[in-house]
């Protein structure tokens, strides 16, 4: 049985950050799953990486950039084709309270 690497409050906090509504059952399962995974991941601490650079990028591409040109044509119908709710070409969402 792996020691608890993540407690229930932390699971709830992460679920809030990730906007995932979890049932109590799910919370408990996730706590167990994540704990065992995090325990496994702990093996990385066996490695001394103080002198190692993090991998910035895998690839040989330099800095690709595009010219400042308008290449898109207006097509609100196509862009909103999959919208769950729309009105007058705007996406409808519940009232946002600032």
């Amino acid at each position: 049985m792996s020691e608890t690497r993540i407690n229930l409050e932390q699971v709830q906090h992460v679920a809030r950050l990730a906007r995932l509504e979890l049932t109590e059952d799910e919370e408990r399962h996730l706590q167990a799953d994540l704990s065992s995974i995090l325990t496994y991941i702990d093996k990385l601490n066996q490695l001394d990486t103080s002198a190692v650079e993090p991998t910035a990028q895998v690839g040989d591409v330099g800095t690709p950039m595009r010219e400042d040109e308008v290449t898109n044509r207006p097509d609100p119908d196509a862009m909103l084709q999959n919208a769950p709710a729309q009105r007058r070409h705007l996406v409808v969402v519940p009232k946002i309270i600032e």
Binding site: E26, Y40, D60, I96
Partner: protein, 485 residues
């Protein structure tokens, strides 16, 4: 029923060019095969016979004029992770269950331009997260060699479809082994090219620094043909290499004399299936017989690869999947405020494995944990890359098993996520180092289940990797056994 579906790309290309067969006939043959097998196999989420026949007819018109591209008229299955304009694209998730792609991804556009035919969107693990295709919202794909077993994942549908001849070739994606492992489990060829070799634009992102597009084919030659049309610079993908694309088919000389094959001692570990190990070692011996040299090498940080992967991939994924929020497209669970809308939409729309990985990734990036997890993992990734850099000074390719076992039973590993993750052990480092890797069939176990040999190359050395695989395959080392379907 005609069995044109058994053809390879190379064979079909010839017969189509000589007008011995038509694209329509070939496509019809595959569609009939799909209709025959799909209830048992479940390799497809969406089959599109109407669109496929339209594409086939257009291909025939082009073939009639002569000098058509290699893929013209070739029926392909496309993993449902690629945006195909006008077609439902679900990523095997409820959250995109009704999503119709408004644009074509770059490789899809390339394939269309080449006249290829899309017979359907292939099943997969939801958001490419899994090693068995059991995490699909549309049911698992079964292994054509034994319907009680998994086809592998996450590109299980693409692999099974080729193995069962439901199509001539297919597209998958590979983030931690998702092409190579199902290829191994289903006895077909699967390639993950060098990271940045193929454009990712229009491929639903799982882990941006690891994802790569690749083909499933029946032969190595076919993979070389297909890869050539997929690879190349794309102005829509800032991470895509501008390096010229060689003629991969021309590299298939059949000659591997003097080729130095690195054999990493860390990859032949206890816990591996005995028959898998035997088959792989036999393949190595065989290649030695063809003139290659075996060199023992060490990749000392191999044991840390899975831990590293499950931090980096899930961290990137947690951000990549934030856009699935019920606002602009996909599933929406209505609520009277936005927070509940997000919470409930994502709760209902994502499966358990996806939620698990989002949670892990969010945690790894969260305040107070970033250094210990994300940053640490990026550093270990550097060590893993350096292992391979050193190794490639001593060898030209590296050969290993693809998976520790053959295809496992449906339901066997699904309840133990960590166990499932550990089956990626041989493939995952290749993604971390951005290297090209392929799976080539190298035998069958005593139950008739396929075993794959993994060949890994140095960056952008697909020619060497393909040459080695083709030489091995062409030497008659193993005789292909068709699945009993």
């Amino acid at each position: 029923m005609s069995d044109l579906f058994r053809l390879t790309i190379a064979e079909a290309r010839d017969q189509l060019a000589r007008r011995e067969i038509s694209a329509v006939e070939l496509t019809r043959s595959c569609l009939d095969r799909i209709a025959d097998l799909e209830r048992r196999l479940n390799a497809f989420i969406t089959v599109c016979p109407r669109e496929a026949m339209e594409q086939a007819e257009a291909a025939d018109a082009r073939l009639a004029k002569g000098a058509a591209p290699a893929l013209c008229g070739i029926p392909l299955a496309i993993k449902d992770i690629y945006l195909t304009r006008g077609l439902r694209t679900t990523c095997a998730s409820k959250i995109l269950g009704n999503f119709v792609a408004p644009y074509d991804g770059t490789v899809i556009a390339k394939l269309r331009a080449a006249g290829a035919v899309f017979v359907g969107k292939a099943n997969m693990d939801e958001f490419a997260m899994g090693s068995s295709s059991e995490n699909s919202a549309f049911g698992p794909t079964r292994n054509p060699y034994d319907l009680r077993r998994v086809a592998g994942g996450s590109s299980g549908g693409s692999a099974a479809a080729v193995a069962a001849d439901e199509c001539i070739a297919s597209l998958g994606t590979d983030t931690g082994g998702s092409i190579r492992e199902p290829a191994s489990f289903c006895g077909v060829v699967g390639i993950k090219p060098t990271y940045s070799r193929v454009s990712r634009f229009g491929v639903i992102a799982f882990a941006s620094s690891l994802d790569q597009v690749g083909p499933f084919t029946k032969t190595v030659r076919d993979a070389a043909i297909l890869l050539r049309d997929l690879a190349g610079k794309d102005t829509h993908d800032s991470t895509c290499s501008a390096r010229p694309v060689p003629n991969y088919e021309a590299a298939l000389t059949g000659d591997i004399k003097g080729l130095r094959i690195g054999v990493p001692r860390e990859y032949f570990v206890s816990g591996m299936d005995r028959e898998v190990e035997d088959a792989v070692r036999a393949a190595l011996t065989h290649m030695k017989g063809l003139g290659a040299k075996l060199v023992e090498i060490s990749l000392p940080h191999s044991e840390y690869a899975i831990a590293t992967y499950y931090i980096l991939a899930t961290a990137e994924a947690s951000a990549n999947l934030a856009r699935y929020d019920g606002i602009r497209y996909g599933l929406r669970v209505e609520a009277d405020n936005n927070i509940d809308l997000y919470n409930r939409t994502r709760a209902r729309g994502f499966g358990a494995e996806v939620k698990r990985r989002i949670m892990l990734g969010t945690f790894a990036l969260s305040s107070g944990y970033y250094d210990a997890y994300y940053l640490k993992a990026q550093k270990v990734r550097t060590l893993i890359r350096q292992d391979f850099e050193k190794a490639f000074t001593q060898c030209d390719i590296i050969a290993t098993p693809v998976a520790p076992t053959t295809a496992f039973n449906l339901g066997e590993k699904i309840n133990d996520p960590l166990q499932m993750y550990l089956s990626d052990i041989f493939t995952i480092s290749v993604n971390m180092a951005g290297l090209p890797g392929m799976s080539v069939p190298c035998g069958y176990d005593s139950k008739g289940m396929p075993i794959g040999l993994q060949i890994i190359g140095a960056p952008f050395s697909e020619e060497t990797m393909l040459r080695a695989g083709d030489a091995y395959e062409g030497s008659g080392a193993i005789k292909r056994q068709r699945p009993p379907l």
